[in-house]
Symmetry: C2
């Protein structure tokens, strides 16, 4: 077998055998195939795509390229949730405790943020003492006792995906649905859960800019899960405006706590209920209506909030910061951006908001950047809201005046005000695939 022939075959639009994909991916990972051949192969895949079967093979090859996690010591069905990434997406922080409070088991591996979207682990680390580098035994134990645990991804999970992703990232071959789907699903399947809820974001702040391409991605991911003998449902949700009102690590923990107490923004609360009911359906074979009721009760009864406290304590976090979450806001100043005239808030460009948050110091552009947990945005107005001159639109939590200036300049480009008929407001849930 020769890498050249495999590149040529895919370039000509032919379907590859499992052995050919294995030869290519394993050769790339172990260094017997030079990166320039893999790069040419990935660009050929970008143009000629992979069939569902090829995509499944690729997923399995990457899934088994390193360690895999055995969750058989967790009693019952373990359910995992994945989001394709968005701005202001603190869903895991609410969903985990809610679903665990209803009796399901959530064993979650999470990542750090890179680029314009934040990472769950970064958000949790806003709470002093919080640890995610826990070993697998303790992680499984915690899922069995509390029902919910989060660990950072271990070094040797899916090295194949890591290597391929690193190459895609520098060769403009990231945004091909079959490659996105196999990358996500190889990690999920290596993580060992039995069932998956996949939150596929659509819009200006997401991988997938429109509903059609998001639907395609969702279908591919659900197909992979089914081919692997797992359950999965994908939910297409709106990322054309930031999720909830708060963006930034500590601010998002604060909003998560508010939501667990029943005081969260409507859009975010609804998303958590929607994702949660599918998780309960798969984990506990619960009827969707019943699941929704139980999730709402977990909030009104305070059980979801208590579960979050339990979870933070178990992972070494100082729960006093959960009880009094504004303690995390150690920032120097707050700047209030105001409406310049009477108008409507028409649109908030999510990607630009994410970039503006990074300019404040909330995220990282490269792996080794330090995060400033306390900075971020609190939107007091959202698209569709009427603005009177001097109404506060957004509060900016900052530490550095120069960074503040840069962030304001980008944020201004992200917010569009105008006439009522120019308001762009999408529904929260576009579709459910499963």
């Amino acid at each position: 077998m020769r890498a050249y022939d495999i590149i040529l075959k895919k370039r000509n639009g032919e379907v590859l055998e499992k052995e050919e994909l294995e030869y290519m991916i394993n050769g790339c990972v172990n260094g017997t195939i030079p990166d320039y051949q893999t790069a040419a192969f990935l660009m050929a895949v970008y143009f000629k795509h992979l069939t569902r079967q090829e995509t499944y093979y690729l997923t399995e090859i990457m899934r088994y390229s390193g360690d895999t996690i055995d969750l058989s010591q967790i009693s019952g069905i373990t359910v995992d949730k994945h989001s394709t990434g968005g701005v202001g997406d603190k869903t895991t922080l609410v969903l985990g405790p809610m679903v665990a409070a209803c009796g399901a088991k959530v064993a979650k591996l999470s990542g750090r943020g890179l680029g314009h979207t934040g990472g769950t682990i970064d958000k949790l680390e806003s709470i002093p003492g919080f640890k995610t580098n826990i070993d697998m035994t303790r992680w499984i134990e915690q899922v069995n006792t509390i029902g919910f645990a989060i660990a950072g991804q271990t070094a040797n999970l899916v090295p194949g995906d890591k290597k391929i992703y690193a190459l895609r990232d520098v060769t403009a071959t990231v945004d091909e649905p079959s490659l996105i789907a196999s990358s996500i699903m190889s990690k999920k399947l290596a993580g060992g859960a039995d069932a998956f809820v996949l939150d596929v974001k659509v819009g200006s702040g997401a991988f997938m800019p429109d509903v059609d391409s998001a639907k395609e991605l969702a279908k591919i991911m659900v197909d992979i899960a089914k081919k692997a003998g797992k359950e999965a449902v994908a939910i297409l949700t709106n990322m054309d405006e930031p999720l909830g009102n708060k963006i930034g690590n500590a601010l998002e923990v604060i909003e998560a706590v508010d939501t667990l107490k029943g005081n969260g923004p409507d859009d975010f609360t609804n998303l958590c209920i929607t994702l949660g009911k599918y998780m309960l359906k798969m984990a506990l074979s619960m009827d969707l209506k019943e699941a929704e009721k139980r999730l709402e009760e977990s909030i009104s009864s305070g059980k979801a909030y208590e579960k979050f406290l339990e979870f933070v304590q178990a992972q070494n976090g100082d729960i006093d910061y959960v009880v009094n979450p504004t303690r995390m806001l150690t920032n120097d100043g707050v700047y209030e951006m105001k409406a310049e005239q009477d108008s409507y808030l028409c649109k908030i460009n999510t990607q630009k908001v994410g970039i503006a948050a990074n300019l404040l110091g909330a995220g990282r552009e490269s792996k080794d950047d330090k995060i400033d947990y306390s900075v971020g945005f609190d939107f007091l107005k959202k698209p569709g809201d009427l603005l009177k001159k001097d109404d506060k639109i957004v509060k900016i939590y900052y530490n550095d005046e120069i960074r503040l200036e840069e962030s304001i300049s980008t944020l201004k480009k992200a917010i569009r005000c105008g006439k009522k008929e120019n308001v762009e407001k999408n529904q929260l849930i576009f579709d459910i695939i499963g």
Copy 2:
């Protein structure tokens, strides 16, 4: 500027600026851009192509990536010929002396063979003593005195093309017309001639399998030459059967000598006259009819043959081997392949013949392979010929019995016999672009 953005731009089908192509190619050559980014870029070019203007820029960037040759010390217009490569193509050996005998100046840089097509330098080295590693001063001097000289390509000519070609060769991105054209023309332009006759081969033994794609390549090459302020004409010629009757280094020199003496095969003689008349037209502003007459006279008068002797002597070759060319045939044996029954010779697959010649030892698969000059084929029959049982079709000159067996087995697959209506016989010249 970032390589990533340039890859993305081409991947999305956008047109690149000269500065972007410069950044990409120069970065690849000097090592500041990793090969995997160049490989992804080349695959994106394969799918999205280059405009004529981009192709010209790429050619110029590669042309000036190393040394260029100054032919200003040659009096008059120098004309160069390039063939895209074929099997049995000994054209340069006849064309050079013929055209020089008519008064034109031919300063030719030639290459060695690789893969299933032979190289002019290898053929000439069948003549003991023949040297092509002559320095540029002597080369120019020889063109001024004799009218014709051949040098091997110097190390630092078009390093950009060498590097890019090496990457294309292992990433399945060779057969894109804009890349083929810029590769050829960067070398030609760096070689310094004023005018070019481009012999674009079409058919089973050529880069370009059909007339349409060959025409496209021809148009791009002529366009590049014109943009560079040079004259060029491209002639589309048949490579769906081997050119002439003899294939193999010494055998092709023998056939060239026969042709210079007026005893060559019709197809090969006609091709030389056709290419030659366009060379004379460009070099000496000669009318095509007049040029054809002069070329025919150069043969009938013996002047072309004398020019060849002069040329071989000037480049240190032992002319006794030209006078008695069968002395070059130092092979052990000759095997005669015969017709198994009465039939017509319908088709000779050129690429397979080239491969069969390599199996005998006539070519090289990798750079360091040694060539056996004396082996090869002499076709006594060509497509369209009537065969009686036991008629000799081809004589195989060999040195090694095992290699002979392998070669016969491939050659048998190359030759198809059958009914008269199944004869595949194409015209020699498909089109002239200029």
